[in-house]
């Protein structure tokens, strides 16, 4: 069991774990910071993405001892950092993901959001191709990525103070004539006795 001195979301923390524990294990099972998720065990999915000195890395392949002396940002750190800047609500990227429907099961999204946050920190106006490339190490099984990409574009637009572009589904919906207007059609199923 080795002592660990970590700087996580701006806090200097002292804890202890065996040398073979990863940063992900220490975050989740020592420090209770369970926002970083474990999906694949070994660096194939990106769910455990955290920022190390601002760069997205995989916590499941980072030995906890090697995170010492470096600034770790987890998903739990974004909203407090936003608050420390005197702003209300969640980090604009988190808010955009919520606003745009990018969170279905949500399990990949802490990692996804941190990859997106790092992208926008480095490049305030990424193209769609750059967004897709920056997120290509984070697997999402729910969304098909469309609403994730839209969320990042939404966050870019909000940060730039411009009107977000309409999202793919926001064309007028095709509506058939409401059946009650016709009045004649009845469901043909029988009522249960």
């Amino acid at each position: 069991m080795a002592a660990l001195n970590l700087t996580i979301n701006g806090d200097r923390l002292e804890t202890a774990a065996p040398d073979h524990w990863t940063l992900l294990e220490v975050l989740r099972y020592r420090l209770g910071l369970t926002g970083s998720k474990q999906g694949c065990d070994k660096g194939d999915c990106g769910a455990c993405t955290v920022l190390l000195d601002g760069q997205p890395v995989l916590a499941c392949l980072t030995l906890a001892g090697l995170a010492q002396g470096r600034a770790v940002t987890t998903i739990e750190g974004l909203m407090p950092a936003h608050a420390r800047e005197g702003k209300s609500g969640a980090d604009p990227v988190q808010d955009a993901f919520d606003r745009c429907g990018a969170l279905q099961c949500g399990f990949c999204q802490p990692g996804m959001i941190l990859s997106a946050r790092a992208l926008l920190n480095a490049n305030a106006h990424p193209t769609r191709a750059q967004i897709r490339a920056a997120l290509a190490g984070n697997l999402c099984r729910c969304t098909g990525y469309t609403q994730i990409v839209e969320a990042v574009e939404y966050a870019v637009a909000v940060a730039a103070g411009v009107e977000p572009a309409p999202r793919a589904w926001e064309t007028p919906r095709a509506r058939l004539t409401d059946i009650e207007e016709q009045g004649t059609r009845r469901p043909s199923g029988q009522a249960r006795p």
């Binding site: 040398d19 660096g43 997205p56 995989l58 980072t62 030995l63 001892g65 090697l66 290509a136």
Partner: protein, 338 residues
């Protein structure tokens, strides 16, 4: 969660301290650079070191700079992402920059290092699996067993070199600089890899790869790296093709080199590529014809095995296609060498 086996971790601050730790601990110690290859392998119980010596905190091993003679010197601990985006690397060693930019996904390129990629363990579908899986298989030649499942009755491991950087560095004539407690040595990367899939690298216990040196390229140097993989990210190569074209000021090929990887234990140089392409002018039918001939040569000289996932016959079919396409990419990209 799949857990790592127990080991002790040391984080020396200097190369000397790291070398001393290795010397003291002998075979029970392993070096960890970015950890992106070693840690999954440890989780799969492919190695059981008592001690991991991390090079992460040795500043002298990190950085990319122009060498005095006009080439490049890249510290072994330089992240792949830094090599990929370095303007110097992109202009002086375009094949290497492209190769590094195509390794795995964004996070792994940030974590993974050039040295780590050069020293990547060979890969095989019967090897890169958990202990349980391998035990159900009855293990294999490379680890814990005696049978090869790729080549029936095979006595030589044919696990595949899967590092994207290696063929690029071979095409560039790179030199690897090693240090150990007893001294330093340099070895041309051409001499470094062997055909033994169990240990395809001539590296002695206690040695640390500290630096990769790339000699200066001629003014008309062009390069490209083509990577065949299932997805546009994350995956190891199903085939890697590094191309070097050194051209005259009139875009006539004077010297060429092609090195392929993800076939067998070591990257493979296509024989007679240079003489076939030499004298042809980029953008002319003569070059395209020569490229076609080189593609055919590559096809004849390569025999992909069913070592890594993916249909081996198809990978063989892809050799000429990717040779042709990567040659075309090298020929058509603007000449960026300064």
């Amino acid at each position: 969660m799949l857990r790592l086996p127990a080991f002790a971790l040391e984080r020396p601050r200097t190369l000397r301290a790291a070398l001393e730790l290795l010397a003291e601990n002998g075979q029970s110690a392993m070096v960890v650079a970015g950890g992106t290859d070693l840690l999954p392998n440890l989780k799969h119980e492919l190695f059981d070191p008592k001690l991991l010596v991390s090079l992460a905190e040795i500043d002298e091993l990190r950085g990319l700079c122009a060498s005095a003679e006009g080439g490049l010197e890249i510290g072994a601990m330089t992240p792949l992402a830094d090599v990929a985006t370095s303007e110097l690397a992109r202009t002086r060693a375009p094949a290497l920059a492209q190769a590094c930019g195509l390794v795995a996904g964004p996070q792994l390129r940030t974590m993974g290092t050039l040295g780590g990629n050069v020293l990547l363990d060979t890969r095989c579908q019967w090897y890169n699996q958990t202990y349980f899986w391998r035990s159900a298989l009855g293990f294999c030649l490379k680890k814990d067993g005696s049978a090869c499942h790729v080549v029936a009755g095979g006595k030589k491991c044919v696990a595949a070199a899967s590092n994207d950087s290696a063929p690029a560095l071979m095409s560039l004539g790179a030199v690897l600089h090693f240090e150990s407690a007893s001294g330093a040595r340099e070895v041309a990367i051409d001499e470094f890899f062997t055909g033994d899939g169990i240990q395809n690298k001539k590296i002695a216990p206690g040695e640390i790869l500290t630096c990769v040196r790339i000699p200066p390229m001629p003014a008309g140097h062009r390069g490209a790296y083509g990577k065949l993989r299932d997805r546009g990210s994350i995956d190891f190569p199903l085939l890697g093709v590094a191309v070097r074209l050194d051209c005259s000021s009139k875009d006539v090929v004077e010297n060429a080199d092609l090195v392929l990887t993800a076939l067998a234990a070591q990257p493979k140089r296509v024989k007679r590529a240079s003489e076939t392409l030499a004298g042809t002018k980029l953008g002319t039918p003569a070059f395209d014809e020569a490229a076609e001939k080189v593609a055919e040569l590559a096809y004849q000289q390569c025999r992909p095995l069913a070592n890594i996932p993916g249909d081996a016959n198809w990978r063989h079919e892809m050799v000429p296609v990717w040779v042709r396409r990567t040659l075309a990419a090298a020929a058509t990209e603007p000449n960026v060498t300064t």
